[in-house]
Symmetry: C3
Subunit: 159 residues, 3 copies
């Protein structure tokens, strides 16, 4: 495989703006005929949370973590000027007005275009999330999965 | 073109420390005979704001966004310990004392050395900034411009 | 040297989660037989601070900076939900429970596995830290050291 035809992204953040950057780059790469893979780790895994499901076997700390984390891609904060969610709302209004795809549309497009979405299993334990709380259509892996992928990829980003 | 002779940076932040990192790496690369390109996206585009100019055709939300964002490279916050601007001021005193180039000097050097500076057009719409509010000597583009560049670059950073 | 056998990371943050990501990736790379190098810059250099030593020849601003920065890897904050250190403590309890190596263990493993740790000298001046305040077993360098390394590396991350 030619290296220049593949892009890998680690998404360790759940800020709306950073998540959008990751998805826009990955979707753009796919549209241009490249391979694209996003590894969701630490806060990033909450981007893929399915808010209709909730696991029951959690320790107290896991429950607490689970409650405090955004429970769907619609609840993500901005990395700056979030102002208790007001900034993120304002950004969404601006996105709609300027015909920028919403985060949910970007996630749907990524799945449709077969961007490979890999969730870090270690982070899931730490955040107290189980596979049934994550949306369908994703893979699971660890640092080895990531390093295997980067060894044949030239554009590797950490967002 | 040899891949190792080029470096691409996405600057999605307008923190003083992160902006300095991007410019120091790009300027260093140029000084060592490499090509360097910085893509300014999201908050990053405010780094290139020209505080002497202001556009008038803005919607209410764009005006609000525009007022809240730093209006020149001299107003950028620190990513940590900013303390309402005090941390950033303290950092600037330390930079001067230790002969570290100021952000404005780093931007001037980048333009002088022909580091390619590309501003993301989608972010400009979202932030409500027009081209006349951005300093001279920069290019404009989107995710395709970026992906085209990375396909022939080996060192690709997201800052 | 084959490019795919090397990974370089710039660590510009001292957040517990980001520092762990950098060390887990670098340690994983070493375990898989790759070369790994981490450049510590800006806030990142405080990760390597040795809390048993303190330098005396500091200006007032340097002393102030030095007091406000975390004085060992055990004091690092989380990038989100830190809540005055409570979030970071909660994360450490969860890490222990789920058999995730602590940050100190990750640093020890990196030194043992000979991950090359390079500290940015310019950042040390700015932060007011001297070499005697940094743990043993690290190298010192600048942007040229970094760029020299990346020119023979394919996976270059900025964390």
């Amino acid at each position: 495989m030619e290296k220049k035809n593949k892009i890998s992204i680690v998404l360790a953040s759940n800020d709306l703006d950073k998540t959008m950057s990751a998805l826009i780059i990955a979707n753009g790469a796919k549209a241009m005929g490249m391979e694209a893979i996003i590894f969701f780790t630490f806060w990033g895994i909450t981007v893929l949370r399915n808010n209709t499901k909730n696991s029951k076997n959690k320790s107290f700390l896991q429950k607490l973590m689970s409650i405090m984390l955004p429970n769907s891609s619609n609840k993500l904060p901005l990395s700056k000027m979030n102002m208790g969610g007001l900034g993120a709302k304002m950004m969404k209004v601006l996105m709609k007005k300027h015909n920028v795809a919403s985060l949910q549309q970007l996630i749907d497009l990524a799945i449709e275009q077969k961007v490979r979405l890999v969730v870090c299993e270690m982070s899931m334990s730490l955040m107290g999330l189980s596979k049934e709380e994550i949306i369908d259509g994703v893979d699971y892996g660890g640092v080895c999965t990531y390093l295997d992928e980067t060894s044949e990829t030239c554009t590797n980003l950490f967002i």
